[in-house]
């Protein structure tokens, strides 16, 4: 007799066919998901730093302005990480002998720079300019989040290209009055869209989506 397979094989065969077809689609979806996941983007992952510097304390607590430390933000592509000197301006008196701040003092004594871990790390082929953004009413917290609530700084946003494009294509959804740019706690008003439209006109904010805007 020429029967080769058992009854059950019929279901099995059909099932495996279906699974194969679905699996192919699912695989692609999975890759898409992973490449957007915090694993790949490091979004929301707090970083260990040589000194446990707390933005929450300094910005939220003391209410120090962003520009006190990030001096270049209005004039340069990079916001600038403060030299040890800036820390010592206060910490030569306050917490002058706290063990946590020893690395800072050491740096000041020896003249060896502190080595911070870069949190917002764009690829080498991406050229972002802070001045161009803050001068057009893009708030710090729009990209950096509520740093005034972050004990340890973490990357607020994905920094994926599609994320950049969200704003470059519709700035009115994110712009705020220049006065509010450095207000970490700023909450967009209910009428953000119409406000945004006005600001776009007012500041002549024309974000571009040409490749050479960021890649050169």
């Amino acid at each position: 007799m020429s029967q080769v397979f058992h009854r059950s094989m019929n279901t099995l065969a059909r099932a495996s066919l279906a699974i194969g077809l679905l699996g192919a689609g699912g695989g692609v979806g999975l890759v898409m998901a992973v490449s957007r996941s915090p694993y790949a983007t490091r979004q929301g992952v707090a970083r260990e730093q040589p000194v446990p510097f707390s933005h929450q304390h300094h910005v939220g607590g003391m209410g120090i302005d962003c520009r006190y430390c990030h001096t270049a933000v209005e004039t340069s592509a990079v916001a600038g990480i403060p030299p040890t000197k800036t820390c010592m301006n206060c910490h030569s008196q306050i917490w002058a002998d706290s063990p946590a701040l020893e690395p800072v003092r050491a740096s000041f004594r020896t003249g060896n720079s502190l080595q911070w871990v870069r949190v917002y790390d764009l690829p080498e082929f991406v050229y972002f300019d802070h001045s161009a953004h803050v001068n057009k009413g893009v708030g710090c917290s729009t990209c950096h989040g509520r740093v005034d609530l972050m004990p340890l700084l973490s990357q607020e946003t994905s920094l994926l290209m599609e994320w950049c494009l969200e704003c470059h294509r519709a700035p009115e959804r994110f712009l705020r009055p220049k006065g509010e740019v450095y207000n970490a706690a700023y909450q967009p008003p209910a009428n953000q869209l119409e406000l945004g439209k006005q600001l776009v006109k007012l500041y002549d904010a024309k974000p571009r989506t040409s490749c050479s805007t960021c890649h050169r």
Binding site: V4, M32, M161
Partner: protein, 465 residues
């Protein structure tokens, strides 16, 4: 109806005499099911597999050192890579043509060659597909950036680029050919399942056969599907080489920018394809003693197709030269002059010799029916078609618009390694194919047996009575 077709010479049979359903099954089936593997096969496979290793070496070297190991340069940005790509994809075309177009034209003589012609198509496309990926500077991204998928950059392929057209055409072509081939195999795998004594093979072929049991209701849908596939594959195969020709025709390089390209590329593809089918069929029928199934009639018909397409190709060459002169365009005229008298003139004239002169000898029946000669011609044409692509790509690029940036090109040893390697891949796959699957479609052969009654009253069956 078969008598109505021009290729049907009275007297020349498409199947040896005295065959029954059983003998057909055994003759073809035993090639696969025989216990001991023939020595010849082992030898051939060993060689082919050796060549395949060459390809692996070439690829590893390419990935680690860089595309610079190939001869490509500025201004000759494409060399062996695209030459071979076009060459292989062209070869593929004959398979689809035989199985699809000849099926639609009810050319019954196709039955005995379509199976391995289709296999040849698949393997040739596999070899061709190697190049578009690995000719890029960064294969590791080219492999998927060429496909439209929702990436994190929010970017999509440029659908204006002929290379993207290629991606779509070639991948579709590969998929459809594979489906067509597999569908054809289902009933034969059922036959092998029922024929073999080995439990293991029963299971293996049984899985492949999907439980085919030859139900007349199934045959009913099956035939419909098979015909539809043929109907779809026909425009597809034409579109594929048309698209390949667009890679050049849509460019503005003198020697590329020509409207004649699509038709003459398609013809060239069929031309090269039939040459390859002959190259494979002649040794195959000799080694496995399949003379009864692949008869002189088949060889002769293929020779005729080759000659016809060869003439179309020749016409293409003439038109190219004519348009260059007729356009009165400085660049075009110089391009033609440079082809005929420039540094690569040798290539051009060899191409004319291989593709225009030689095939015309097939006008003579004595030569057309001499198997060694046919084999020789087939090889010559394959070389000729390779030269054609060389002339089109290299000779056009090396002296284009600005004399200051003219250059020269030569393939490096790594170019050759990759090329020979793909030949190895092709042969390896082909050897495996003839060993594990029926190289001739059994169920289709049966339909043309006298008295099969396959095509209802008025079919050959009735005539045979």
């Amino acid at each position: 109806m078969s008598s109505a077709n021009p290729m049907d010479l009275p007297g020349a049979p498409i199947l040896g005499p005295g065959h029954t359903l059983g003998t057909v099954t055994d003759k073809i089936g035993d090639v696969v099911l025989t216990r001991k593997t023939p020595r010849g096969w082992l030898g051939g496979f060993a060689i082919a597999f050796g060549l395949l290793q060459l390809m692996l070496l070439a690829v590893v070297n390419l990935l680690f050192v860089g595309i610079g190991v190939w001869g490509v340069t500025i201004p000759i940005g494409w060399g062996f890579d695209i030459i071979n790509f076009v060459w292989w994809i062209g070869i593929g075309h004959a398979g689809t043509l035989i199985s699809a177009i000849l099926l639609l034209m009810r050319q019954e003589w196709r039955m005995s060659i379509n199976r391995f012609a289709e296999a040849m198509t698949l393997f040739a496309v596999a070899c061709a597909a190697f190049y578009p990926i690995f000719h890029t500077g960064r294969p590791w991204v080219a492999a998927y950036w060429l496909l439209p998928y929702p990436n994190t950059m929010g970017l999509w392929p440029n659908f204006r680029s002929p290379l993207i057209w290629d991606v779509f055409a070639v991948s579709t072509y590969a998929t459809v050919s594979a489906l067509f081939w597999y569908v054809g195999l289902i009933p034969d795998m059922a036959t092998l399942r029922d024929k073999t004594g080995s439990r293991l093979l029963k299971v293996v072929y049984g899985m492949g056969a999907l439980g085919w049991r030859g139900s007349i209701r199934h045959w009913h849908n099956y035939e419909t599907a098979y015909l539809l596939l043929a109907g779809l594959a026909t425009p597809l195969v034409v579109s594929v080489h048309t698209v390949v020709s667009f890679d050049f025709a849509t460019g503005l390089v003198p020697g590329w920018h020509a409207t004649i390209f699509p038709p003459y590329f398609v013809a060239g593809a069929v031309y090269a394809g039939f040459a390859m089918v002959l190259t494979l069929a002649i040794p195959l029928r000799w080694y496995y003693r399949l003379q009864d199934f692949i008869t002189m009639r088949h060889l002769e018909n293929m020779a005729k197709v080759m000659m016809a397409t060869g003439l179309v190709v020749a016409y293409g060459y003439v038109i190219e030269a004519f348009m260059a002169w007729y356009s009165g365009n400085t660049y075009e005229m110089f391009m033609m002059k440079n082809r005929m008298t420039g540094p690569y003139a040798v290539m051009y004239w060899c191409l004319i010799l291989c593709n225009v002169v030689t095939p015309n000898l097939l006008w003579f029946k004595r030569l057309r029916t001499s198997i060694p000669f046919l084999f020789l011609v087939a090889l010559v044409v394959s070389v000729g078609m390779w030269l054609e692509r060389f002339v089109i790509i290299v000779t056009s690029l090396h002296r284009d618009f600005l004399p200051a940036s003219w250059g020269m090109y030569a393939g490096t040893k790594y170019d050759w390694a990759a090329f020979i390697g793909t030949i190895g891949l092709f042969l390896t796959l082909f050897f495996l194919f003839v060993r594990v699957l029926p190289a001739i479609s059994m169920f289709e052969m049966k339909t043309i047996l006298p008295g099969s009654g396959a095509h209802g009253s008025g079919g050959e069956a009735e005539k045979a009575r």
